[in-house]
Point group: C2
Chain length 432, copies 2
């Protein structure tokens, strides 16, 4: 299948931040094969006329828990402790595979309709989530965040160690790497140095990446310093956790010394501004991280603390939040936010996505040229970062395959999933 | 025309924060005539089945500059001074009535499609904006922000005084009060005490409200204190500016003593979180204002500093921003944000809107029951404040008249306006 986008405003997300007007982008066998302002030679099975609309790389959501979509708003309005212990954890005890699958599909619908083409998902029962991702068509780095509290760690004593192996065997490399598996530690405060060493070795032995929650709350950050005499980043780095490609979700309370370690080891900070604000965690020090040379990507976090999956919303919040908090209208720019949501996310996940360039994965989204909220378009990056909504996505292409177009899902049966969530998942989880 | 909404989840926005499941809401002659869980007697010209979707009061955008929509993103990425002087002001010099009308229509399309039913608009050439509002069908409090820098104030010397009179004569009371006119002062720092006294007397003599920008930036707030020995709120209050129903836009740097004056005089603070963050102004002290008993409403500000008109986005940002900044997940709740966007806005503008109750204006919006991002719905307020997008609005009714439904504008010719903006307004303003 050879496909051509024509008459698009192509936001390349290259180093020079080029935007090509009236551009052509050709796609074949899952990859971008031509980009330019001249029509490429040859015939195409399908030509999509963008009528001047913005064509950009699909968005990379670098930290979420897709199946938690079924807990949207559940237990909101309580403090963090009550929310987790009285609402989230008891519900999580009730999951079965069927419910996880439907909840993952619900989250995927929301992601796909709002322009996400690649996701890093950390949750439980992940082999089932893998099935949902496989069918939906987007790319994903899946992981199962390991937790172990005991003194007497052994891989056999920690159920999550077996789950890392199981997930890796089931899904790593599926569909030419569309699905990959990363190793994962839930967090410093829910594990022990023995597990850190095991998980670091596991990741190295498999040649995969690492995904960890880092310094999301002031309490966990300060308690780590008090008990271990070092920050979570320092503590985990010492045990080799960051010796592989690694993403650190949140980083709200990371410090200058952490940033140096992250920059040196190539650890990506995943900024989740909606969740961090909503839960009262705080505002991550993004300008500091960027200045220190840390790769910063963007995530929605789980819907239970967001409460949606719209990466455009996340991009806008990232772009404006630092300006306000630092009283500096230039603290973060539209381009900064756009890079966080695309090319930086690709780097975080070790993927050839997030850019419109020959040889890259054909992960592309086309925005509606007639959406009133995108008119006028004085500057493409400004319109994307500050004015666009997920609902402006007319077409979502993952690895060369159109999976969503004009409101229709082409890989997910929308009606069946909505019915399944309403009739099975919600009654199972919430008894109603 | 008698109209009935049935099988809706009605978010009443009453004092008890009631949400009625499987509810009926009847509408006749522009007003709500019945609300309850029993079907009202009588026959109806049209029955709209909400299929369990959320029916809520239309959103009240209490501070914007609608026609600035045509400057979306123009000059972004510069500091405030450069942005205003090198971009916004030169463009504003080029306006003509035809361009203002098309730009206002563009902004109205965006507002209507995202659920706004009432707006407070301060800008220039306002009689033309009145024409756009009259046709579009929403309610509006229009005003022309007066500016005067000279020492020798007289109503004749200040062109904006005549404009207040002209706007009042042209539009105040139109269509049974659907359009009203308020007096307006641009700001303390762009005017003099003599103008303040004139405008206060003008508002009192006409029996209308007042609209002023207040303490948006730290600089203007501190300069006022340095030069006048008092805050903008204190300075204007002394000259009678707040002796009528009044709305104070921004209030980012207002202080405890200001809040007491505002609470005592019934001045509404209009929170514009997107704009305040984007421009690097800061974070308004909303929990303090609310605790002091000040009515707090919500606005998008102009698109040139937002850069969109989606009040759902504004509501979400309002709801989560204070939590993050104060590191308290309960600093502001979903209900607080919802009240700011509806019933508090109605109070600010002196209107019978913002609630679903018998006798109120039938300003109602219906959300899509099958939008994946609104499923599940554990709590209506949470879903509205945290998860809903403007694009979830299936139907917008203003004063009993459906003006938008399933993506179609029923009062505005979408194609004509988009063409007019593209072919006339943009070339005129930006020379391209």
């Amino acid at each position: 299948m050879k496909l051509l986008f024509q008459h698009v405003t192509a936001v390349l997300m290259d180093r020079d931040r080029r935007v090509l007007s009236n551009a052509f982008v050709a796609v074949e066998e899952g990859r971008i094969t031509a980009v330019g302002t001249e029509k490429p030679a040859g015939s195409f099975d399908r030509v999509i006329d963008g009528r001047g609309g913005l064509l950009m790389p699909g968005l990379v959501n670098c930290h979420t828990h897709t199946a938690m979509t079924s807990m949207r708003g559940y237990g909101d309005g309580h403090d963090l402790h009550t929310w987790l212990n009285d609402y989230i954890f008891p519900v999580e005890d009730r999951w079965d595979d069927r419910a996880i699958r439907a909840a993952a599909d619900l989250g995927l619908m929301e992601m796909i309709a709002s322009g996400t083409t690649c996701v890093a998902d950390m949750y439980m029962r992940m082999p089932v989530v893998g099935k949902a991702i496989a069918q939906a068509g987007i790319s994903a780095n899946l992981c199962n965040g390991a937790i172990f509290f005991g003194e007497d760690f052994s891989p056999a004593a920690c159920g999550d160690c077996a789950k890392q192996e199981e997930l890796f065997s089931a899904w790593h490399g599926y569909d030419r790497g569309r699905i990959r598996v990363d190793a994962a530690l839930h967090a410093e405060y829910t594990s022990t140095p023995a597990l850190w060493e095991w998980i670091a070795d596991f990741a190295k032995s498999k040649g995969i990446g690492m995904h960890v929650h880092i310094s999301e709350t002031q309490k966990e950050h300060e308690q780590c310093k008090a008990s271990r005499g070092k920050t979570p980043i320092q503590a985990l780095a010492e045990r080799g956790v960051f010796d592989v490609r690694a993403i650190a979700a949140h980083c709200v309370f990371t410090e200058r010394s952490d940033w140096d370690i992250m920059a040196q080891k190539g650890v990506t900070a995943v900024h989740n501004p909606c969740s961090n604000l909503k839960l009262g965690s705080g505002v991550a020090p993004i300008p500091g991280l960027l200045k220190a040379g840390v790769n910063v990507a963007l995530g929605t976090d789980g819907v239970s603390s967001n409460n949606d999956m719209d990466m455009f919303e996340e991009m806008k919040l990232a772009a404006i939040l630092q300006n306000g908090v630092h009283q500096d209208p230039l603290a973060l720019t539209a381009w900064d936010a756009l890079e966080m949501a695309t090319v930086n996310g690709a780097r975080a996940l070790g993927r050839e996505t997030g850019q419109i360039a020959v040889g890259k994965d054909a992960d592309l989204i086309l925005l509606d040229p007639d959406a009133p909220n995108l008119i006028p378009c004085h500057d493409a990056a400004n319109n994307i970062a500050y004015a666009a909504h997920g609902s402006n996505v007319k077409l979502n292409m993952c690895r060369g395959k159109v999976i969503y177009e004009n409101g229709e899902f082409l890989t997910i049966d929308r009606e069946r999933i909505l019915a399944e969530v309403r009739q099975y998942t919600i009654p199972l989880l919430f008894g109603k």
